[in-house]
């Protein structure tokens, strides 16, 4: 694991995609089975030096599993991995790192309390006499790597003082420090701003020019077409197609991903809005938001648009009783209600599908059916005693309506993909027959197929008279789904838009606080 800073590992002869180059890494016939689920079924994946291969697929297609197989976290049940033509076996994560495979994850795994240099060299710090860490060399090498990626960071700075984008740079510097032949980027742009994404693209270009093979996992088609040379598509744990990006278009990729063509992205719906269900008056919070007033009607989808940090989720969590507003009142069906806890919100017919699925949404460790019935136990039980047959029946009714993909209802919800976990959370709330359902970024990090399913379902719910609040940062989704949109900026309502005013320009203008139109 010597660090070679001067010579790139592979001669960067051509940065463009060519069909005749030999793959540096080849996975063939990889199969991985978990209890009840065949996560990978004989898949093939080839990565070429100096090229970016985009791995595309719906949630649950097996993308995360293949990354974990590549990085030595999982061992495949069958199949071969060959590196530069020679078969290899990664028993541990260290084996994969030693072979020059490194991954930059969605949420980067770094150490907040250590310095930038320590993070870059953790596990393979340069050693001096007596096997002690050679600090001056480590600092110097870190500085060199950082300047190579144009990262203006002090190697001695503790990581906790850096923002998310800078942390990404450290993760990338770490990848370079092990002289990686293969760099895996698992949705690297998910948490980044527009400017940071541009900088990341430049880095990818640089890595490509240095002759490294890059596996790029993303749900965003624009970035795939912008930076990838090749694509590989997985569907339901199987390899369904691969080739050069130049030979494919967006529609074809979508067709491969979902196994059908997505003709209509947003469902057509009649604007059938009834009486007022929810009225929020003068809601305020000491730090997060102020002067929030709005109404929600029966059968309406009310969009909440704004930049990250505008206070939308905080308003919703106050409505759901998680945080306490300092002022203001809530009226449900015309009557003033005090909501001090999620339990009271549920009793009043307000339910919340959080953005943070893993931590706040699904109870990982409990089976699917117990997740679904958790808020409905009063309904499925008799005098406080569980009735399992009622629970299975209720769970089946709602999970099947949402087209859940699972082997059995007693399977741990943690074994499901993100999109399917989201379906379980939504099923849980629908089973309580709520009046108002709040969806916080309902399709974030979800593949196109599940997205369409969630959108279709939202439209169906509204048509049945349920009132929906949808917090979303995706302009097409906000425009495509909402009857009316409230734009928030810095904790305040910046605008309420409907009808002809509901345009992308207006949304962006109010969210960013750009001066009024003439």
């Amino acid at each position: 694991m010597q660090v070679s800073l001067t010579t790139p590992p592979v001669a960067a002869s051509s940065s463009g995609a060519t069909a005749d180059a030999a793959p540096v890494l080849r996975l063939e016939g990889i199969t991985k089975t978990f209890p009840g689920v065949k996560a990978l079924d004989g898949v093939t994946l080839e990565l070429y030096p100096g090229q970016v291969t985009a791995l595309v697929g719906e949630n649950g297609a097996g993308k995360s599993t293949i990354v974990k197989t590549l990085t030595g976290i999982y061992q495949p049940d069958a199949g071969t991995i060959s590196l530069a033509g020679a078969p290899v076996h990664f028993a541990t994560a260290q084996d994969a790192t030693a072979a020059g495979i490194t991954a930059i994850h969605q949420e980067t795994v770094l150490f907040d309390e250590l310095s930038v240099a320590e993070n870059i060299f953790i596990g393979h710090a340069p050693r001096g006499r007596f096997g002690l860490i050679d600090w001056p060399k480590m600092r110097k090498d870190a500085q060199e790597i950082l300047s190579r990626i144009d990262a203006d960071l002090d190697p001695d700075m503790p990581l906790r003082e850096l923002g998310i984008a800078s942390k990404h740079l450290v993760a990338i510097a770490r990848a370079l420090s092990v002289d990686a032949r293969v760099v895996i980027m698992d949705e690297p742009t998910a948490a980044l701003s527009h400017k940071e994404i541009e900088e990341l693209y430049e880095l990818v270009e640089r890595l490509r020019a240095e002759g490294r093979a890059i596996l790029f996992i993303s749900h965003k088609f624009d970035e795939i077409f912008r930076i990838a040379d090749r694509y590989t598509v997985f569907r339901d744990g199987q390899h369904v197609g691969s080739g050069l990006i130049a030979d494919v278009d967006e529609a074809e990729l979508v067709r491969l991903m979902v196994g059908r063509s997505v003709d209509q992205i947003f469902p057509q719906r009649a604007h059938n809005v009834g009486d007022e269900v929810l009225k929020v008056v003068g809601y305020a919070h000491p730090t997060e938001f102020d002067d929030i007033n709005f109404t929600l009607r029966r059968g309406e989808i009310l969009g909440f648009y704004g930049l990250v940090g505008a206070g939308r989720s905080e308003v919703m969590q106050a409505l759901f009783g998680v945080t306490k507003p300092s002022k203001g009142a809530v009226r449900i069906d015309g009557q003033v209600r005090v909501i001090r806890s999620p339990a009271e919100a549920v009793e009043n017919g307000i339910v919340y599908v959080p953005e943070d699925r893993g931590r706040q949404g699904a109870v990982i460790g409990l089976p699917i059916f117990q997740n679904v019935t958790l808020p409905s136990l009063a309904q499925t039980s008799r005098r406080g005693f569980l009735r399992l047959s009622e629970e299975f029946a209720l769970a089946r009714e709602y999970t099947e309506r949402l087209d859940l993909r699972a082997a059995a209802l007693d399977q741990d919800v943690g074994n499901l993909s993100g999109g399917n976990q989201q379906k379980v959370v939504i099923a849980k709330w629908l089973a309580t027959k709520p009046k108002v359902i709040i969806l916080d970024e309902p399709t974030k990090g979800i593949d196109i197929g599940s997205k369409a399913a969630v959108h279709g379902f939202m439209a169906e719910l509204a048509a049945q008279g349920l009132s929906v609040i949808m917090v979303s940062s995706e302009i097409p989704e906000v425009l495509g789904m909402s009857d009316r949109v409230i734009v928030m900026r810095e904790g305040l309502i910046a605008a309420e838009l409907d009808g002809e005013d509901l345009t992308p320009e207006n949304l962006v203008r109010h969210a960013a606080g750009i001066g009024a139109q003439p």
């Binding site: 339901d236 806890s341 136990l377 299975f392 089946r396």
Partner: protein, 333 residues
């Protein structure tokens, strides 16, 4: 995920269960532990000629009945992600309160009520500190462990309370039928009650949900603080019950009563398959673990093994039984 995609078609049927009840039992921790219990029973009956004697076996149950009563409540508490290390000190305080009441001429019903009330009060004190003030339970109960027993030491010093009424002796020394002691009957009854509470009621389901992810449980409309409050109350109450049985059996109260029991109770719970991190475990597991620990101490006692060696053996047993499944998995790979 297992089949090929079929969007937009009729909803597919999802099975209720992945495996039948037989397969689930075969893979269960409880079965492994039961095998261990049987093995120890057989080994004991070969090791000592006095082991297979109804009265000796009956005596052996006293090694675990009182601890197991607390272990049932402790199992629920640990499954919910909390812990109470003050249980043995609660016994000391309950016993001291009962002994003091005797000095003022209290009769058996009053003594029992005072024992239970003291246990509940101690549990409530822990509960308020943990659920209302948001302090970590391990720190709170290490503190109250010293506090509760400290009060006993202040009240009693080197002395002891004696003079319990004759009928009070029934709880720890009485027999319901032949060799079946009152304590054993109470243990069996409580095992059934806690089994029903944990595995057959909404409350038990909430305990599991909280232990797996308290935030998501709260976001699902569960009143997490209320459930935890009740669990601390139950643990205090069961310590009170154990204090009544133990005091009755010993016939006296010293401040060192039940010293070190908190670790034996936690050992019993963990040996029974309850995850120390919360979220999983069962009452049948704890019941079998109680028998295992009772059989081991009794068998070693018959062989005149000193107490310190016994605790070494219990420690090895705990580590061994917990490491076994992991070793098995490593060996198969």
């Amino acid at each position: 995920m297992t089949e090929t995609a079929s969007h937009g078609q009729a909803p597919r049927h999802i099975r209720d269960r992945l495996q039948g009840p037989g397969a689930r039992l075969l893979k269960s921790w409880e079965l492994l532990l039961f095998a261990v219990a049987v093995a120890i029973f057989v080994a004991n009956s070969f090791a000592s000629p006095y082991f297979l004697n109804a009265w000796n076996l009956s005596d052996a149950t006293f090694n675990f009945t009182e601890k197991a009563m607390i272990a049932f409540a402790m199992a629920l508490l640990i499954i919910s992600g909390e812990i109470d290390l003050s249980v043995a000190s609660i016994i000391a305080l309950c016993s001291t309160a009962m002994g003091a009441a005797v000095q003022y001429g209290a009769g058996t019903p009053e003594i029992v009520l005072i024992g239970l009330a003291t246990g509940l009060a101690c549990g409530a004190f822990n509960a308020v500190l943990v659920t209302k003030m948001g302090l970590p339970s391990i720190v709170v109960t290490i503190g109250t462990m010293s506090l509760f027993r400290g009060i006993s030491y202040i009240v009693l010093g080197d002395g002891a309370y004696r003079g319990y009424p004759a009928e009070f002796a029934y709880f720890g020394q009485g027999y319901v039928f032949w060799v079946i002691s009152f304590e054993f009957v109470l243990f069996a009854l409580l095992a059934v009650l806690y089994y029903v509470l944990l595995h057959r009621t909404n409350f038990g389901r909430m305990v599991y949900a909280i232990g797996n992810n308290a935030t998501a449980a709260s976001f699902s409309g569960i009143r997490v603080a209320r459930v935890k409050f009740i669990l601390f109350l139950l643990t205090g109450l069961m310590s009170g019950v154990a204090a009544i049985c133990l005091t009755s059996r010993l016939g006296s109260t010293r401040p060192s009563i039940a010293f070190g029991w908190e670790l034996e109770v936690v050992t019993m719970v963990v040996l029974g398959g309850v995850s120390i991190l919360g979220g999983s475990g069962s009452i049948p597991g704890v019941v079998i673990a109680a028998f295992v620990m009772g059989l081991v101490t009794f068998g070693l006692g018959l062989l005149n093994v000193p107490g310190i060696v016994m605790s070494i053996f219990i420690g090895l047993l705990l580590i061994g039984v917990i490491a076994l499944p992991r070793l098995w998995a490593m060996w198969r790979r």
